[in-house]
């Protein structure tokens, strides 16, 4: 049974609207059931995606190539894990909502991520600036609501306002860039742009470059690349933790597929394409340095993960800068798959520990190895992978990125990468130190883990090792 690929998005959209509707009519139900409906529905979508291969869509602005399929799957998986986290996080959410009834507001909290997922899936396939822009806005507007969701929490509101203003600014850059590109090429479709570019008058080349750089700035906001990263720490810290995870994995990943497609489109005209690559290299260098150096002194785990997410954007940009190498796209895909696993695993453990300890500080994890050896081990694996210890997924990602960078002779980035990996070992192992060396805080009660979260954690830990030990699994994610 095969569907036209666009049905996946429509199904996810319908699922989100269904949850919203059900919520209105089911006053008495435990709202967590809606999250479960969302998880089951998305799992079905994932299975169909897994079964369907790349193909043709019959539309000029929408493609179903292997990267599109991969990023759709990635979006669906991320949303599933975010919903699992949201169930554990529901009690915290309720504390910060005006309590008209004990469960009011929870339904939307479970429905919005599903709608966001539809937007991300669309973005994975979009190859026309119009469609890219629309799907980007669908994702961003859902995030406006989600980030500021805990209305009575000042930090969450602050995060919401910051995200709103800076995102709007970034959107402005993107749109302005698109108009320039359109003005020069008379096209919005990336394939057309790619074909038309070599024949544009030389006088118009600066215009094309200007437009491309503006789009790069706009996307830089989405993927949290320095120097467009300054919203990240506060927004990540203030937003509800599952949403932070969603932002740092989902929003960033689909930003990268768009970035890859845009950079690729401009490669047909070396005069512009090479300068664009130089800009990406500079962006990568700044992002690597800023993310990893600023992470060093952090004492709050959520902030640490925020800076680490900036740092990882730097490694990903390294791979994008090496777009002329054969493995570049594959490096981005493998890195993102690893990044998804290890980051979501960290956030999941963080949600569980913080709801039973009351804080996001690293000190909150002191003595976790005695309180809950299982959670401590899971987080140890996540930290090892984030730091890039071999035989974990994170190492394979770094390995491929460094390989691409070496192949394309990005020696500056390689030298910076050596330094920043060293930094990474320090700040990720700070969490390990808290869990294993430091004496436990007064509260020694064991931490209960729900069966759903337990399953998710076990699966992610296993996948981290599987991807790390059997590279062919990770490479199979993007068939060439």
């Amino acid at each position: 049974m095969t569907f036209p690929p666009i049905f996946f998005e429509l199904f996810v959209l319908a699922l989100g609207i269904l949850i919203l509707l059900l919520e209105t009519f089911a006053e008495k139900q435990d709202r967590k059931i809606f999250a479960v409906i969302g998880i089951v529905g998305l799992a079905v979508v994932f299975l169909f995606l897994q079964a369907s291969g790349p193909g043709t869509s019959g539309m000029v602005s929408y493609v179903v190539d292997p990267p599109a399929i991969f990023f759709k799957k990635l979006s669906v998986l991320t949303t599933i894990v975010v919903l699992i986290m949201s169930i554990d996080y529901a009690d915290t959410i309720k504390r910060f909502l005006p309590a008209e009834s004990p469960q009011s507001g929870l339904g939307e909290f479970f429905a919005l991520p599903v709608l966001t997922c539809a937007g991300m899936m669309w973005m994975s396939s979009a190859i026309d600036f119009i469609l890219i822009f629309v799907s980007l806005e669908l994702v961003t507007i859902s995030f406006y609501v989600l980030v500021a969701y805990m209305r009575r929490n000042a930090a969450s509101l602050e995060a919401g306002v910051k995200y709103l203003i800076l995102s709007a600014l970034a959107t402005g850059f993107t749109v302005y860039g698109i108009t320039w590109i359109y003005g020069v090429t008379r096209q919005t479709n990336l394939i057309q742009i790619n074909q038309v570019l070599p024949s544009i008058p030389v006088d118009n080349q600066p215009g094309a470059l200007f437009g491309a750089l503006l789009v790069l700035i706009g996307l830089g906001f989405k993927i949290a690349a320095a120097p467009f990263q300054f919203w990240v720490p506060d927004v990540y810290q203030g937003a509800p933790t599952p949403i932070t995870a969603f932002l740092s994995v989902g929003s960033k990943s689909v930003g990268f597929i768009v970035l890859l497609r845009v950079v690729q489109a401009f490669q047909s005209l070396p005069a512009v394409g090479d300068k664009l690559i130089t800009a990406v290299i500079l962006l990568a260098a700044a992002t690597l340095l800023y993310g990893n150096l600023a992470a060093l002194p952090q004492t709050n785990f959520k902030r640490l993960l925020a800076y680490s997410s900036i740092g990882h954007a730097g490694y990903l940009l390294m791979a994008v800068a090496g777009i002329s190498a054969k493995d570049s796209g594959q490096a981005v895909v493998v890195y993102l798959a690893a990044y998804l696993l290890m980051t979501l695993l960290s956030f999941l453990v963080l949600v569980i520990v913080s709801t039973h300890g009351g804080g996001d500080e690293i000190a909150q994890f002191n003595g976790l190895s005695k309180r809950s050896p299982f959670l401590a081990f899971a987080l140890l694996v996540a930290m090892m992978s984030l730091a890039g210890v071999p035989l974990t997924a994170g190492f394979l990602g770094k390995f491929m990125v460094f390989k691409v960078a070496f192949e394309t002779q990005q020696f500056l980035l390689l030298a910076l990468g050596i330094v920043t990996v060293g930094c990474g070992f320090y700040f990720y192992l700070k969490v390990v130190r808290a869990m294993y060396w430091q004496p436990a805080a007064a509260n020694l009660a064991a931490i209960p883990v729900s069966r759903l979260s337990l399953t998710a954690i076990v699966i992610m830990v296993l996948l981290i090792f599987v991807l790390g030990i059997f590279p062919q699994v990770a490479l199979g994610l993007l068939p060439t």
Partner: protein
Amino acid sequence: MSFLVHLIYLSPIVAGVVILLGLPPRRTGVIATVIALVSATLVFVGYDRAISGYQFRSFLPLVTDWDLKFSVGVDGLSATMLLLTSIVALASVWLAPKVEEGENRYYACILFIAAGAAGAFASLDLFFFYAFHELALIPTFLMIGIWGSGNRQSAAWKITIYLSIGSIVLLVGLIGLYLLPSPDQRTFDIVKLQELAATGAFSGPGSRSVYLLLLLGFGTLVSLFPFHTWAPQAYASAPVPVTMLHAGVLKKFGLYGLLRVALPMMPDAARHWAWLLLILLAGNILYVGLATIAQKQLDLTLAYSSVMHMGYIFLGIASYNVIGLNGAALLMFAHGLSIAALFALSGELRKQTGTLNYLDLGGLATNMPTLSFVFGMATFASIGLPGFANFASELLVFFGAFKNSTPGAGFNEFQIVGTIALWGVVISSVYMLRAYRAIFMGERQARWQMVKDMPLSLGWTIILLIAALLIVGLVPRTVLDAVEPGIRLFVK
């Protein structure tokens, strides 16, 4: 028979996992390391010296595009290193103390460190060769941080950050090595790479930079001067089993890597950079040697001495001739055993007296006749007295350095550094004999009256280590016959 090689690294890994899942730590650990030792001995004995080359091979293709396999096998050098690994692994598990809390994690960490070393020595694929070594990094961090002594936190940070940066430099170097040949020849298979090297695939313009990356990366892992400062503090603070494994075995990974990967693939680059290595290794021998004399505590003396002795091995590698490389390989084996024995004995001393400071100790030979005797043996081995494997190997290293001469041209850089290294022997006898005198001779303080001689369990360990040293010392051919054919393949 290739399953024997798999047993050497798999049995500690499996034991570590099942210990974490709840099996009795000590018994499981000892059984696993005994299995590994038996397998390693069978591999070492069963390695057919007449045929030489790589034997006991088996592989599992993983990524065909990159020619990446999970591939294991041994030649004489790796069989020797595997034997060393399993001897020291058994000794360190055997000596592991009773741990109050988290005993399963303690044993699992030791076993993972041992497995990391063994896996790296058994791998014939660059990817896993590298990956296995890094497997030991996090357990070392945890062991020093949780169960270390003294300034354990800073020691744990230092070793972890240093080694991780060293490893990432090494990784970049290995990627560079992989990318040097033309695209259709690229492979991670070490055997194929060595065959490619014969066709000159690695002699291109990039090879010198790649070799430098490998030299610095591997060098940091072996505490090459001036990247050695992680070692003394870490070895002084780490729990005894970790120090034995790390100083004895894991550190040799860098040297092994130079012998296995860097030298055979890029002989021209190796000769080009020999001057740099000579300067740095002179730092190891002279600077660190003098620093060792200044130490006032046994654990620090031993830790610094283990850094200093790396200088001799580097000298053998720098001279790049059969005799020098033979000496380097033999010294890797000998030093691993002697330093493990010394750290085991110093751990026992610390357990009995609570201090290793020379000013506090003295006259302990009265209470500890056996311990002082075997400590003396290990001391002599470490200095390099005839009869022990260290003597044979250091001699070969010096011959190797002096052989690099042009007749009638006077002293060249190899002989100058060789002469400095000869003085290193004097330096090491100064600090080792001073340590011996300060601890075992002279006035015994009244508070050491109750100190007892060493227990039988430690005795067995030391016998195992010293016996291996003596056998190889008296008949160096046992090891050299295995090692030499592999070296002759890339040294004309």
